[in-house]
């Protein structure tokens, strides 16, 4: 079984091979050895009144994936990301309600591209812990196995594994949607300020994959977040993140606080969830500074989980900016 580090190396090598077509220089080749994170933005994504222009979301997604893979044709790019003949699970986040849930327009755009890349509708599962969170975020529940499914763990026929799985300090019962329905998981988290962890984005989104997330919130979710993501049942399936930073909360999260809503109008994508969380954290800090708010650390919410996730015990990715190849497009 490949470790995440092996996988990341493979991904980086793959990127080098793909990038060779465009005659890379030495500096670029060295950059390709780093964890690549793409931040794709569209300043016109939201209108002045805060309405999302859904037609622009698919274009933004294509731009992000093209930059990440080095392939201009979306279908070819997606073929490099997802395996054929496997069930692709997409973990969305509906906790905060529609304005700060994983936007339906994004999920639908990904579903469209997956199908164009050869994934059958019945091989796509959109999931979250609670049916009500999905519905409040605008998703339509569907359990028909011949179509794209949209399901919650609390629905009949799913639920949690009876046997716990463990790593380090945590022992959890995973949703059967992760363990039994999905082969390959794309994470679709939402970037938000978090009352305990400082920020919530890629790694923490899988608190929505376990039965008792409350138990992993101690000590600013550290080492809860890192330990959870090291459990093989999750680690061996979680392969890619398309982070929704189209709208976000810079203070008072993770629930919806309209007074602290902001529109980064961005997608953040990559294979390395630590690098992605690091990038998202810095975006939140910049916004807080712009709004005259203190740093997360000075409010007693340092993002120490990122340090733990990157340490030698966990090795989930890198939180070292010199090892992150950040592409802003």
């Amino acid at each position: 079984m490949k470790s995440r580090r092996d996988f990341l190396k493979t991904a980086a090598t793959g990127a080098v091979l793909l990038g060779a077509q465009s005659k890379l220089g030495l500096a670029e080749l060295l950059d390709q050895q780093k964890s690549k994170v793409v931040v794709a933005r569209d300043a016109a994504l939201h209108t002045a009144g805060g309405h999302l222009d859904e037609k622009r979301v698919a274009d933004l997604l294509d731009r992000a994936i093209a930059a990440y893979t080095g392939l201009d044709k979306p279908v070819e790019a997606w073929k490099r990301i997802v395996p054929v003949g496997k069930v692709i699970g997409m973990k969305v986040n509906g906790l905060g309600g529609k304005p700060i849930a994983t936007h339906l327009a994004l999920t639908l755009a990904i579903c469209e591209r997956l199908q164009q890349a050869g994934v059958k509708p019945g091989e796509i599962v959109v999931w979250e812990s609670h049916r009500s969170d999905l519905e409040r975020a605008g998703y339509t529940i569907s359990t028909d196995r011949s179509r794209i499914r949209c399901i919650g763990t609390d629905m009949d026929g799913f639920g949690y594994e009876e046997k716990p799985a463990a790593f380090g300090s945590v022992s959890v019962n995973f949703t059967k949607i992760l363990t039994r329905e999905c082969d390959f998981v794309i994470n679709l988290p939402v970037l938000k300020d978090h009352d305990l962890a400082g920020v919530t984005f890629s790694l923490k989104n899988f608190y929505g994959a376990i039965q008792q997330p409350a138990e992993l919130h101690g000590n600013a979710c550290d080492p809860g977040i890192a330990d959870l993501n090291c459990i093989p049942a999750l680690r061996n399936k979680f392969r890619f993140t398309i982070g929704d930073a189209m709208s976000s909360i810079y203070q008072g999260g993770p629930v919806f606080r309209p007074e602290h809503l902001w529109y980064p109008n961005a997608l953040i994508v990559g294979h390395d969830p630590v690098a992605i969380d690091y990038t998202g954290w810095k975006m939140v800090e910049r916004k807080r500074a712009e709004m005259g708010l203190p740093t997360l650390e000075s409010t007693g919410r340092p993002t120490t989980f990122l340090v733990t996730a990157a340490d030698q015990t966990h090795r989930l990715g890198t939180n070292d900016p010199t090892h992150i190849h950040l592409m802003e497009v």
């Binding site: 906790l95 997330p213 008072g252 309209p258 007074e259």
Partner: protein
């Protein structure tokens, strides 16, 4: 003799009722704090009321639960609403262990909050209202900013306040 027997019977019935109530976890149910559709002009109640005990609050608001638990929340009830078929909003009623708990949460508001006369104390933002009344802490959040949002939220808040 007859009076004495009747008294004994009543005492016995009271004991049986009390034992049954404790055994089944029966609790005195407070008044429903959520206005029904149409009770507040323009507002429709669009979901069932969901109730979360303190231990389950993470299921609803994830890490935000911690501040309520620290302040002694007993349970949280929530329901969704829609104004004139367009503006969506959620009403959360946190029942705290004491008025002090509700006060503690309300005081965590930011400086851009505008004080309003509602319940024992309240504040408003462009798209949300928070107020406390006794041990209840109410937060009403609208998901969109429209010219009518502030006034519509205030009307709904007054509707909730009247039922607490």
């Amino acid at each position: 003799m007859k009076t004495c027997s009747m008294k004994s019977l009543l005492v016995f019935a009271a004991i049986i009722f009390a034992v049954t109530a404790v055994g089944t976890g029966c609790k005195k149910k407070g008044p429903e704090p959520f206005p029904k559709s149409g009770a507040v002009a323009g507002w429709e109640k669009t979901s069932e009321t969901r109730v979360y005990a303190a231990k389950d609050l993470y299921q609803y608001i994830d890490g935000d639960a911690e501040q309520y638990i620290s302040a002694g929340v007993v349970s949280t009830s929530t329901s969704d609403y829609k104004y004139q078929g367009q503006l969506e909003a959620t009403v959360d009623v946190h029942t705290m262990g004491s008025a002090e708990g509700a006060r503690k949460i309300l005081e965590t508001g930011t400086k851009d909050a505008k004080p309003i006369q509602l319940g024992d104390a309240g504040v408003a933002y462009a798209q949300s209202i928070i107020f406390r009344k006794g041990a209840a802490l109410v937060r009403i959040v609208a998901y969109e900013s429209t010219p009518d949002t502030a006034q519509a939220l205030l009307a709904l808040a007054r509707g909730v306040e009247a039922k607490l």
